[in-house]
Symmetry: C2
């Protein structure tokens, strides 16, 4: 198998989209599919899909198409999604609590195993399966639990400070719900989930 | 002012990022800034920023830079963010409830004015400022309240049906938290917020 570093970022992102769509096809009972049908569902060109797949070797059978379940397993392995990732959550306000209570994340291979907050009224509370811990212990606890990923769901004004602490704790990547830009080293991966900005994308082309 | 349709989508998305960063600069007390300092904060090329701005006319003063507050106001006007947008929310599970309780959205110009669910145990509940309504009335209520935007926070298996109903109610765009692909007409704008996929982006390059 090729090293992922040699595969374009855009291809990896599309592989995630293919996996999501294949999961849907499988849930609808479709045991086989063609690159044409996948392309149609995703409004894409089938040649693009075949080219993306070709980075990782041969998957389908010419004229027969792809076996859905088998390809799901292969994509999960390629995407490092054939295991459970352990996450730390920082900030158990509205969004953070919603994530802790969401069983879908674990089903997708992401388990929140540590939850932190700085608010004394929240520390010690049980939310879903976890007890909220004091954020002052974040570095020690993340190392003890060998957690590599984190979710920042703090208010904007604590987000940079939180990111700095997580990086000191050797976190390799994080999702950030705080709608702000963070300064982090290049080798750390950050994926922002900025809900106000997403809403902004809905309206700039609206007629007003 | 140029019509937004003539401006590349990527420029409009970057304008949103500039606005977010300027809001941060303003909150930090910075009344003036240069395209260099903005570019540095966003890890971008200053020429790109000046080019993006140039679609909308002259903003700054050569050698002096930009006045933060004034540019924030101009960007908000360009991005249609100089008003309050009224939204309908469908699905008041964990994520939907978190959005209803989040005061930040309204501060950013997005007010959820209708909330729906299909679960009888949720209909009639008061969450934040709203009472959850029965989703069977979604079309009538959206038209009555003249709402143009929606947020889908239903489980995956209801997301397409919900999108279809919203389109019948003349919704022009929506955010979708359900991690699945939806079939919608080209003229309707959809912005997905797919948390499992965002987490997936964190791990495909991880060494395992």
């Amino acid at each position: 198998m090729v090293k992922h570093m040699d595969v374009p970022e855009e291809t990896m992102q599309r592989m995630l989209a293919y996996l999501r769509e294949l999961d849907c096809l499988w849930n609808e009972g479709k045991e086989k599919f063609s690159s044409q049908s996948l392309a149609k569902a995703l409004h894409m060109n089938p040649a693009q899909i075949r080219k993306d797949f070709s980075y990782f070797g041969e998957f389908g059978t010419r004229g027969v198409g792809y076996a859905t379940k088998q390809l799901i397993q292969e994509l999960r392995a390629i995407l490092n999604l054939d295991r459970t990732w352990r996450l730390a959550l920082i900030g158990v306000g509205n969004i953070g609590s919603a994530l802790l209570r969401n069983p879908e994340l674990k089903r997708q291979g992401f388990e929140i195993v540590l939850a932190f907050d700085k608010d004394p009224r929240r520390i010690g509370n049980k939310i879903g399966p976890l007890t909220v811990e004091d954020v002052v212990n974040v570095k020690r606890r993340i190392r003890e639990e060998k957690v590599q990923l984190a979710i920042i769901a703090t208010p904007v004004e604590c987000a940079q400070e939180t990111a700095d602490k997580l990086i000191q704790a050797d976190i390799k990547g994080f999702l950030c719900f705080a709608p702000c830009h963070l300064s982090i080293p290049d080798e750390i991966r950050i994926v922002p989930i900025d809900i106000p900005m997403a809403l902004g994308k809905l309206v700039y082309h609206m007629e007003v």
